[in-house]
Symmetry: D2
Subunit: 366 residues, 4 copies
């Protein structure tokens, strides 16, 4: 069967014709692929730059792809019926020593015993069909099939907000009306992750800023407008102005220089939290002692936030369905390109480089 | 201005022409009514049977109505602009001695210092226009205006599930995939409350039974079918069968005889919880010592669940928007009748008695 | 080696000379017994009245005893050294399917896969020496050896209060100074459990009543006096007076008639919780519908509370050490009798019946 | 009446004879001083180096002292009786706009509306007698009068651990036996704060290292030995060795150079947390991007931890009472010097400089 494969840690990507079907865990559900999404990590692997990426044991290649929607073709599990749409969870643990893994939360694995589909030690989902474990399959309502592929990247953000709100439950962080409406959040970075994060924080009731080093593109501006986000170009206007405003929640999705982190800390209000989501790829943060003094005085928190699991995929699908009703224009702008799997040249091109204005590119198998 | 008024504790309901505008709290937002919903409590007041109902201080009459959508006409609060749709929160606290009230949660008031619009010491919203406090106004997305009136009754259930999940966080109650998909819930009663509760529990990932003393009506059957609920007629099939199945979560919305409660306790699985939502109106529960022995052994909980606040209204609107996308047939069936406020006879009739098959009746002002 | 054995479900108790050493789980620590405590459940087993009691698989007898302190004689586990004092945890799970069991909390076992030392499917600790699993051994500071045996019964109460406080975290239940000092609790029953529960609630900052059907004995009165507890004879003074006072927390430890439970519910204040700890042994609770109405209105909770685990044993030892400093008179009154294991007649007598004024009887092996 | 006063932000300290009694809040309890403790912040004020220190409005002087034990002389509050020992809470909020302040937790004040006795805008407790608000008075058991003064500094640490454990409740952080016994913690700094922190973490079940730039003094070594702490001289042995060991919890109490913070981050294990308690007084942390990558991957947290409130004072007194029983040698070593208030020269000297080996110095008024 047809598949898109890579050879980490070596760069490159190619189409291949697999002889043996891919089978994960119990493998009791046969899934035929309908769609894949492409994300920045796929491209890092293709470029040979994702240090943690590796094939499954005993192989020198890996099926790429961790964003996928498929249709059930066969199933020996009563919970899944042929014809149902499903989405696979990408980080998994089949070992079972870490307590968090045992309770279905390998996002908090302490034993490094997990694998990640299409990335770390487990084949991914850019493949015609494969056999999956029902434990890691999420049902997708056909009514939102057009945007459902976004549930994978969104799941990471659902988990992140769940985690941050859990951390903030150590004091009263809701407002005098019980909501988060008095809380101000800012998301650094306006890529797919930044945009989805901002929409999600807005859904949770926050006042939301989205910050970047440039003015918004047309699509970004329209999304911000419909969803009520404030776009902030911090090379034009100063970071100092942000410090004066003050933020209860700061999210970094830039994956750029670590030097930004100092400023993200300094704009925190008392009891505020900074969530680091994007992996900084260069530079260093130089943080003077008096910044730490204020950090302590203000009871601030910095937390590393990663990886959503099955409950977060389900929540992501709920939110996408909600957005489809209340922000119809926004949801139409989130998928910026659709490529057929048969257009192999275009697929390889998309896996190599991001186009300007891209939010989410998806590949269709049918 | 035109209003529907009652004289609790006396029975009766009538249209009236108010001389003075109604003003709540800061009163900085003028709201023109678009819709009201009618619920069972309204009818209890009309029948003079809601013991806790009373007019505001110094009056012998009360504007009825706690389910409402309006449009902002004037506003001196920057958060609300003319033309926006709003929904008022019905239970409020203007005193501020109880700690839960001070943090915006009069649903957990310990000082009985709250008032309830259209019911207890505060005028309701069946009135042409009135002035409201922005703290208690919830924005309604115009895209879901058709079903948004359901957010008021749904808010109580959002709060209930939030409370139950908080109670259950004292141990691991999520499944081995981190979701609630392995948990079985049953809702007793298939009225508006029972139906909405079942839909909400399904949304949270539970396997959901809905139980009543009769077979489902056609509309109920279709809702159950589209949303994947199991309808159970417990006069036809035995309560004993439910005991064998076992439930992790049991919700009572019947408001019928207290005698049912013993059975609801007995069908609980270990770590299971019974939420009492409907006020039983007659009878008594006779619970033998050995039922309590098993209750203790199984670490069971019974909890009284009431009243949603502003965060729960917001969550209810989110869920309604989601349902509109994924269960379009269900959402169309939830509003079973629309009456014009100008059809005064029909309004009075609807306030006096429930029609067969009714889920939600709404009154339109425009 | 010498052991005290029973033959559940048959009544009776006897001394026996075991040929084979008892070994639990990994069995890497050899423990020589120093002390056992006797509790009501031991006597229920001796009387053949504890329905759930059974020998381990393949045997028709069971070593009795779930309260014990021993000294390490040999150990292949680096965490335990010869000469250290240890206390075994009594409820255990060696199966590992239930998620709560997997994370060390078989007190919340949903799969009924646990065993209980000296009671249910596992030999107990009234034995000269045995081999234990380090996972289930708790270190005992020698400085509080005199009262440490109380840590086993106290562990159940530590768990109970932890659970109740977790349930109450769903709203603000602390006072305006952040403490529990404004909260009023009442414990029904003044046996060992009731007394320890009252002392523990006082330690947590509650105002504490202890209620019984009689006046306090001299020892009870002195404990109440030193620790600042209010003793309440509810046959002399009315239950109605308690209703007027109102309680935020009600604990039942009586194990008497279920009929008391209705009254315990009625004395709850808004947001109050009733913890059922004692297994009622007769009667029934007859609860009219209007009692449930108020229960719901007041957002009350009833919860079944059982079994402490290793963290609760550790906490119990901490609290006993604290009490030894601040309530030296109280701690001296808690051990009401010490019997030598060599006085076999006296041991058998103590295992058959409770003496008046008894709080805790312990058996010494050295 | 006699008092020790300062003139912040100017340096210096002196004895004074106040004409008017000091009165806080309701002032319904007259407290005669028995003891004061001296801490590093007192000396910072005396040296004119605590930037945030200021007198109450309308004055240019401030009574020093935030660690105190007094005896009730008069009281119009039924909760406090003459002859009882009390300890005042030092951070307070009399304004009441911030929600956390309203519920008795000005340690999480967001509005900077609090005052701090003897430091920020409120007279302290180095005064013969004064009138206090019962809300901020904590009862002290006379049985632990000798060490109770430590409850003030310890209260900050109780709050810190409570906060950290709350943050860590977002996943399973307890071990497979439900305890924290498998978790490794390290405290940087071995002054009064570091020592108390280490003892408290040990009490909570952690394996505890205490790290400093030198070998332990004799007293420190004996405390570490009795309480089972591991002392680590990180100038002798490398920080790298700590990185290999890995820590679940790192606490900084040094108040030294911010450069240490980078290393404290690097030694964190997955899911580990760094609590910053000591205000760094110089330098900067230079943190490269790859350190942040691992921080994110490991789901680490950095949190600023400050200030205990009334519940933490009560918990601190409980733990001191416990330690007095189980670590009698340790508790005797914690008070390293006692000075009479009549020895004014010695008092002034102690307020100016710390002696080698000092843990806690206290001043006696009787």
């Amino acid at each position: 069967m047809r598949a898109v494969i890579v050879h980490p840690p070596k760069p490159g990507v190619e189409f291949s014709d697999l002889k043996e079907p891919i089978r994960h865990g119990k493998g009791s559900v046969k899934v035929r692929l309908l769609e894949n999404g492409i994300c920045g990590s796929d491209r890092e692997i293709v470029r040979g730059r994702l240090a943690t990426s590796r094939p499954p044991p005993g192989k020198d290649w890996l099926v790429l792809g961790h964003e996928a929607i498929g249709i059930v073709e066969e199933s020996s599990d009563p919970r899944f019926k042929p014809g149902e749409l499903v989405m696979p969870v990408n980080r998994r643990s089949y070992e079972g020593h870490c307590l968090n893994c045992l309770v279905g939360r390998p996002d908090f694995c302490e034993a490094e015993e997990y694998v990640e589909a299409g990335m770390v030690g487990m084949d991914g989902f850019m493949v015609e069909y494969y056999y999956d474990d029902p434990k890691y399959l999420v049902k997708v309502p056909s009514e939102i099939k057009d945007i459902a592929i976004l549930a994978q990247p969104l799941s990471d953000l659902e988990k992140s907000i769940e985690e941050i709100l859990a951390i903030q439950r150590r004091f009263i962080w809701t407002c005098d009306d019980g909501t988060y409406n008095c809380r101000r959040a800012i998301v650094f970075g306006s890529g797919a992750t930044g945009t989805l994060f901002a929409l999600l924080l807005k859904t949770y009731g926050f006042e939301v800023y989205i910050a970047n080093r440039r003015d918004p593109l047309e699509g970004e501006a329209k999304i911000a407008d419909e969803a009520g986000l404030v776009y902030y170009n911090y090379t034009k206007e100063s970071l100092d102005k942000l410090k004066k405003l003050g933020f209860d929640l700061v999210i970094d999705t830039t994956g750029a220089s670590a030097s930004l982190i100092r400023h993200e800390i300094e704009i925190l209000k008392p009891n505020g939290v900074l969530g680091l989501f994007g992996f900084p790829s260069e530079g260093e943060a130089v943080i003077p002692y008096d910044v730490f003094q204020r950090f302590i005085y203000k009871a601030n928190v910095v937390v590393g936030i990663i990886n959503g699991q099955k409950p977060h995929f389900q929540l992501a699908l709920s939110h996408l369905a909600q957005w489809k009703s209340v922000w119809p224009g926004v949801t139409k702008r989130l998928i910026t390109k659709v490529i057929s799997i048969n257009d192999e040249k275009e697929v390889i091109k998309a896996l190599n480089a991001k186009e300007p204005g891209e939010i989410k590119v998806k590949i269709k198998w049918d």
